[in-house]
Amino acid sequence: MAAAGLNMVEAITCALARALADDPDVLLLGQDIGRKGGVFQATAGLHERFGADRVRDTPLAETMISGLAIGMATQGLRPVAEIQFLGFLYPCLDNLANHASRLRTRTRGRLTCPLVVRTTHGGGVHAPEHHSEAIESMLAHVPGLRTVIPSTPARAYGLLLAAIRDPDPVVFLEPTRLYRATREDVADDGVALPLDRCHVEREGSDLTLVAWGAALYEAREAAATLAVEGISAEIVDVQTIAPFDAATVIASVERTGRCVIVHEGARRAGFGAEIAAEIAERALTSLLAPVERVTGYDTVMPLPRLERAYLPTTERVVEACRRAYLYR
């Protein structure tokens, strides 16, 4: 069964429907996910199809949603919680870091926490304050927690199925800017993609562009511009931020000798710093130029009028790539 031309929201709905149909222990919970179908329509139609018990509207309380999901998960359910925007995830960090991520460890495997928290990621859609953050590096710092950010409809489908089937907690960050940006055919075949595996999106020989989420599109545009100039860029979509598959990035950098990392989140202690450190430790002698980072700035994510000035642009990515390429 192939669903033709789905955007990312529709691919996510498709994966949720598949998970609900396949496993009676899967249930969805969140604010306005029932009859409304969620603020982004990611659960549209699921309430009608699977009922209010399995597609549960909750009271308005993010901490509660995360804590409830943990309790449910200890009973063997597989709750998939929706937090409307990443800025509203902060109240859940206590439960994610203190409980969900460590329950298996602190009970030596007696209790587990097979839950997924879905929320948005990144800016660029002129949303109100607190709706456009990119805090994956905070999540990546929590051992026991997986953090996944898809970049295409088909990969969102396969990665979300993997996240739901994984027997441990996963935070699934959906780039808001990509929800309706592109369409592609998605095979609704129930096949999950592997977790903790970077995806080599485009092969190239002169430099490695590392990106994830919506920033991958700036990386793609930059690669196209650079190709015209005769610079061949490889693109690695990190997609599973934690645990981080450094091996794929290292293998690429060993071939190209140059690396430019692109992400929306702030530069300081952003996930790009972790990637740069891995390269410094494991591929230093392959480097022909310093690793470059093109990121959000170390300031508060601005409101919509300035958000384009904050987010990495194709021009900034191209400039960084040229600097790396021309470095002597």
């Binding site: 901490t63 509660m64 409830l68 943990i70 309790g71 206590d94």
Partner: protein, 345 residues
């Protein structure tokens, strides 16, 4: 004009006074000698366990430990009122409840001695019970989630969550009470109001006259019980458990007791608390009260729990620490490839 649209009241259940005399008609449980013996034995076990733990801590053989001295009636009344298939969601002062439910004493010691295996619970009877919650109040939401799962599966079971008075100031607890009311969840929230949250007395914790009334705000049943009267605790919690298991929804039971000891072995309550207050609290001792009520000779029970604890301590002290690689063993269901090299240290 203002009209009255809702009125509320909070009742406090007291069955026997400090001298062990009935305060009115008693429930049938009050004449159940086997039950009363079990309650007394549980409280004696709690006290002996605490004493031994402090001794182990003072001699460098256990980590920081929080005793339940003077408030033993709460964990014991709670555990005995629960059904075997209910789920206990404890804080860090309910060791007696955990032991009564089936956690091995050496497992509890192992946890407080710094070994995660203490939460692995070999006994299948407690396989679903949650581990000790160190973070105050989070467990109220976990209990609500456990209850939501039971309700989702149409099971006639409930979750019983124990927390302290300090926890009732936290948003987690309000959110848990709120969803328990909105969804009519099979959960019992037991608040051990021992009057102190480390150095903060309950009067500075909240402006509310009772902690029980916080349940009313979320639309769940709420009452107080004399937390030093184990019969009252057992009766109030038992009623709440039966209500939850039969689809009647959630209850908050505030148990009024007193933390006779310091907050834990790292605390010195002499710096912030009037000793006269502690002396007065000692007169309300729950164990002496039940002995006075029942006339049971505690000596044989004390001897038996003492032997049981010493045998467990010997097993605890013989536990060999895990190899360092064990810290990775349960991080995920299997060690992710990117992390595996760290096993080599």
């Amino acid at each position: 004009m203002d009209e009255v649209v809702a009125t509320f009241e909070i009742r406090c259940r007291r069955l026997i006074d400090e001298a062990g005399r009935p305060l009115g008609p008693l429930p049938p449980t009050a004449t159940d000698q086997a039950l009363i013996t079990r309650l007394l034995e549980g409280m004696l076990l709690a006290r002996a366990f605490d004493r031994r733990c402090v001794n182990l801590q003072r001699t460098g053989q256990l980590g920081t430990f929080a005793t339940s001295l003077g408030q033993e009636a709460v964990p014991v009344g709670v555990a005995v009122a629960m059904h075997a298939d209910d789920v206990l969601v404890p804080s860090y002062r309910e060791g007696a409840a955990q032991i009564i439910r089936g956690v091995a004493i050496e497992e509890l010691l192992a946890y407080w001695g710094g070994d995660e295996r203490g939460h692995a619970y070999a006994n299948p009877a407690v396989a679903e019970d949650l581990p000790v919650a160190i973070t105050v109040g989070n467990q109220a939401l976990h209990a609500a989630g456990v209850a939501a799962a039971m309700q989702h599966r149409r099971q006639a079971r409930c979750a019983v969550c124990v927390m302290g008075d300090g926890a009732t100031s936290k948003g987690d607890v309000y959110e848990a009470i709120n969803v328990a009311g909105a969804w009519r969840l099979p959960v019992v929230f037991v608040v051990t109001n021992n009057r102190w949250a480390i150095s903060t007395p309950v009067a500075r914790q909240t402006g509310a006259e009772t902690l029980a009334q916080k349940g009313l705000a979320g639309g769940i049943a709420a009452l107080q019980a004399d937390g030093n009267d184990v019969l009252a605790v057992h009766d109030a919690v038992g009623e709440a458990v039966e209500r939850a298991r039969s689809g009647g929804g959630a209850t908050l039971v505030e148990c009024l007791t007193y933390r006779v000891n310091d907050h834990n072995t790292a605390d010195d309550a002499g710096r912030y608390r009037d000793p006269a207050e502690v002396e007065e609290a000692r007169r309300a001792d729950p164990i002496a009260r039940l002995i006075a009520f029942s006339g049971i000779d505690p000596a044989p029970l004390e001897a038996a729990v003492g032997e049981r604890i010493e045998a467990a301590v010997a097993r605890y002290l013989a536990i060999v620490p895990e190899p360092s690689a064990a810290m990775f063993g349960h991080l995920h269901h299997e060690i992710p490839e990117p992390t595996r090299w760290q096993l080599r240290g």
